[in-house]
């Protein structure tokens, strides 16, 4: 028995609640000492920018995790949305508003498809979204026969594309408000705030958490479980398509890519988010912090010239620590 039985659990509670935030602060201080350029407003903004796309995808995954689902297709939805934005502007000559609407529609449609697979066809979520992932990986290549999309590209039929990326579209990825805040960071923050509010304070969010915790009990409490699950996948799909739009706007072309790294980073961020504030459940605030955590580490390590393979290792280490934190420490206290 410890000498002060009361002090012990209180310290432990505090450690669980704020441990991850303190760790994040510590890492920021460490990098600032090692590399003074790290600690500046501009630098912080860059960290936010580097994680904005990952974080947006991670917020979508969070929505599916809340209903005890999972969405493996977000990476390929983002990649497809990037291709769709590029294709619609460069080849069909869409305006930026039309292109954005097209991508959001695509994200919603994929989310609906995933939701129907899971809810109606009763395919287990991991398998259903894995199938969608492969479907999209192939689909995004079909219109261009595997080529990347850029202004003035040659089409499979031999003609040259006449459209171009709309200036206002590129603003989404490149413009800075007040010369400091990138639009993508603003979108990430707004989306995080919206999803956080939705999950924590609205009745719809409450029911989603209930479904994730005990689906049968929620159904017997009158919740239309199927509709909520489909909605969660649609939130995920639309988030991923927003990520893809920003990606296209930043890169300025439609790159052929699988988006698998986006998926892995986003899932890692959402899982790390479980540990933030010691809540041991998916939550939007945690997801944002989780993404920032990884972003800070990667930016700091790059500044210190750490080799690229060190970065994957560090990502893995953070994830494992967060998972241990979630599944052993927090559970021990709950009990």
């Amino acid at each position: 028995m410890p000498e002060s039985p009361k002090a012990q659990p209180r310290f432990r509670d505090l450690a669980i609640r704020y441990g991850f935030l303190v760790l994040l602060l510590g890492i920021v201080i460490f990098f600032s000492i090692m590399e003074p350029a790290f600690m500046s407003l501009r630098s912080m903004v860059f960290v936010f920018q580097s994680v904005s796309i990952t974080a947006i995808l991670a917020l979508g995954v969070t929505a599916t995790l809340v209903v005890d689902g999972f969405d493996l297709s977000i990476g390929s939805v983002a990649a497809s949305s990037m291709m769709a934005a590029s294709y619609s502007m460069v080849i069909w000559g869409f305006s930026s508003v039309e292109a954005v609407a097209f991508c959001l529609f695509l994200g919603l449609a994929v989310g609906l498809f995933n939701g129907l697979l899971v809810v109606v066809a009763r395919v287990p979520d991991l398998l259903a979204t894995l199938g969608t992932m492969f479907l999209l990986l192939g689909l995004q290549l079909i219109p261009t026969a595997g080529r990347s999309i850029a202004k003035g590209m040659m089409l499979p039929d031999g003609s040259t594309a006449t459209g171009a990326f709309d200036k206002s579209f590129l603003y989404l990825g490149r413009h800075r408000l007040w010369d400091i805040l990138p639009v993508s960071v603003l979108i990430m923050l707004v989306l995080a705030l919206a999803i956080w509010f939705f999950l924590e304070f609205t009745r719809w969010g409450r029911v989603m958490y209930a479904i994730g915790s005990n689906e049968l009990a929620s159904r017997l409490a009158g919740a239309p479980v199927a509709r909520y699950k489909i909605a969660a996948y649609m939130i995920s799909g639309v988030s991923a398509s927003i990520g893809g739009i920003l990606l296209a706007a930043r890169v300025g072309r439609g790159d052929v890519s699988s988006g698998n790294n986006l998926l892995l980073d986003a899932v890692a961020a959402a899982l790390i988010g479980f540990a933030v504030l010691g809540v041991a459940k998916p939550n939007a605030f945690g997801t944002l912090i989780g993404a920032l955590f990884v972003g800070v580490l990667l930016q700091g390590l790059t500044m210190m010239n750490a080799p690229y393979y060190a970065q994957d290792f560090v990502k893995g280490a953070v994830l494992v620590v967060a998972l241990v934190f979630t599944f052993s420490l927090t559970r021990a206290v709950r009990r």
Partner: protein
């Protein structure tokens, strides 16, 4: 003592318990149980939910250790530390839940040898040919007439159970414990099981048979032991007095308290010509405002099926419902709730509780629309309502922000009941609301139900007769998915009730009809 005498003693007495006690925390589950079973004897253990049957069985099976008392197996001290140790000593159990006893993806033969495989009593390498021969030998000895190569998941429930029993018998047990083995069997299948039990008896196996079913008990029992609240309340030798055994099991509840029947209002809910299964007999029932009706009957007789139909989870095979004189066909629970029909589902851990939510969030889950403005939950209002309900039901907790998984079972159940009492309803169905709840909490819940019952109809489903008698104005008896009897608690014919529950007698539908019509008037 001569060796012969020792042998003699061990043959006659397989299991001998004396003064066995067991507590979980402050809860004394067994308070000095004496029990002995002789070789070749079937002892039936009767006891209501929470009487301590399963704890007793778990102690014999090596899952729990007794706090106090002496246990001997064939005259030697017996303290199995694990279930595997108990099996090695010759004590085998066939569980109530059939799928606990079989590995569905393995073949019949592999299932029969499962214990040997798991015990590591085989050679290093699994030799299918040899194993099959062993399995065939076991099957032949037990007259098990099944294709040994079929995977178990292709078998029907009764055959699965047969495999499960055969698996236990493959261990050559000295003592076989059967926990409600007929609860999912048809009459014919049960008869096959009884034949096996007869054979085992002849070969000198001691059998401890746990059941409520009077038909089983009449057919099998050599001796009946009634357990109530952790003590043996009666031991009945042949000739068996069944009534007395049931009375001993149910205890005080038999003294009908002459409960005051509430003022009954108009008919609120009618079910007409309902068939729960296409093959079951139709029945009708009427529930009135202000009354508490208990539907009782053994486990698996269709009580929950009826509740599910009323709550929109399932559809009856035939028949119709009316609520307030208007046709009532809920498409899903949400629809039922919107119409004012609430249900406290049985098995709260699976079907009621959101474990990660706090008390307040659990309470308001079905009624979030009423607690939110423009979609945003009004936390202050939610908290206020939660506090009121916590007070009303005496939920023991620190605050309304306690996570539900941190509460005791009884308090969790109070929260679940409070959820459905927190808003006015027209019909409240409670399916086994007292499951896993201690006497005090049961009393609190019963009182609360009674005090709030005047504006709605209340239907309580329970398999436990004493629970039924505590709160009912009227008791309906269900057997074989239809209603076979109806009683006013005020003038109860206990013997008739018992025989209806056990499936021996059913009122003719016309009788029920006439009874109901007298109530109506």
């Amino acid at each position: 003592m001569s060796a012969e005498k020792l042998h003699e003693a061990s043959v006659s007495l397989v299991l001998d318990l004396e003064g066995v006690e067991k507590s979980f925390g402050a809860n004394k589950v067994l308070q000095g149980v004496d029990l002995s079973i002789r070789a070749g004897e079937v002892v039936v253990l009767m006891g209501a939910n929470g009487a301590g049957k399963s704890t007793l069985v778990k102690i014999i099976a090596g899952v729990h250790a007794a706090d106090k008392g002496r246990i001997e197996l064939e005259g030697k001290p017996f303290q199995p530390s694990t279930p595997a140790a108990a099996i090695r000593s010759g004590v085998c159990i066939v569980h109530q839940s059939i799928n606990d006893g079989v590995a569905p993806d393995l073949s019949v033969a592999q299932n029969l040898l499962l214990d040997r495989l798991c015990n590591g009593e085989t050679e290093l390498f699994f030799r299918p040919g040899r194993a099959r021969k062993q399995a065939a030998a076991i099957a032949a000895a037990l007259e098990l007439d099944l294709d040994l190569d079929r995977p178990v998941h292709e078998l029907n429930l009764a055959d699965r159970q047969l495999v499960s029993i055969s698996r236990a018998l493959a261990q050559n047990p000295k003592l076989l414990i059967l926990d409600e083995p007929t609860s999912s069997l048809s009459q014919r299948e049960a008869e096959r099981l009884f034949a096996i039990i007869d054979r085992l008896k002849e070969s000198g196996v001691a059998i401890l048979y746990i059941s409520h079913r009077m038909s089983d008990i009449r057919r099998l029992a050599d001796r009946i032991i009634s357990l109530r609240d952790g003590t043996i309340t009666g031991t009945f030798e042949k000739p068996l007095n069944y009534e007395a055994a049931v009375h001993a099991m149910l205890g005080h509840a038999i003294e009908v308290t002459g409960q005051q029947v509430a003022q009954r209002g108009e008919a609120l809910f009618c079910a007409s010509d309902i068939r729960l299964k296409p093959t079951s007999d139709p029945f009708s029932l009427v529930l009135h405002r202000g009354e508490i009706v208990v539907l009782t009957g053994l486990v698996g007789t269709g009580k929950s099926a009826l509740a599910e139909c009323i709550f929109g989870v399932a559809k009856p095979a035939a028949g119709s419902f009316e609520l307030d004189g208007i046709a009532f066909n809920p498409t899903d629970p949400g629809d039922a709730i919107a119409r004012g029909v609430f249900m406290v589902a049985k098995d709260r851990a699976n079907s009621s509780i959101i474990p990660g939510f706090d008390i307040a969030q659990n309470l308001t889950l079905p009624f979030l629309t009423r607690f939110s403005t423009a979609g945003t939950v009004r936390l202050a209002r939610e908290k206020q309502s939660a506090r009121a309900m916590i007070d009303a039901l005496d939920v023991v907790c620190q605050s309304e922000q306690d996570v539900l998984s941190a509460l005791s079972g009884g308090n969790q159940q109070k929260v679940v009941i409070a959820r459905w009492l927190s808003q006015p309803s027209k019909l409240l169905v409670l399916d086994e609301p007292f499951q896993g709840v201690d006497i005090r909490a049961r009393g609190d819940i019963g009182t609360k139900l009674r005090n709030t019952s005047d504006q709605r109809a209340t239907l309580v489903l329970t398999a436990e007769l004493d629970e039924a008698l505590e709160i009912a104005d009227r008791i309906l008896v269900m057997s074989n998915h239809t209603i076979v009897g109806e009683h006013l608690t005020a003038d109860l014919n206990m013997d008739l009730l018992m025989s209806q529950i056990s499936g021996a007698t059913a009122m003719a539908p016309s009788e029920i009809e006439s009874l109901q019509s007298t109530y109506r008037n």
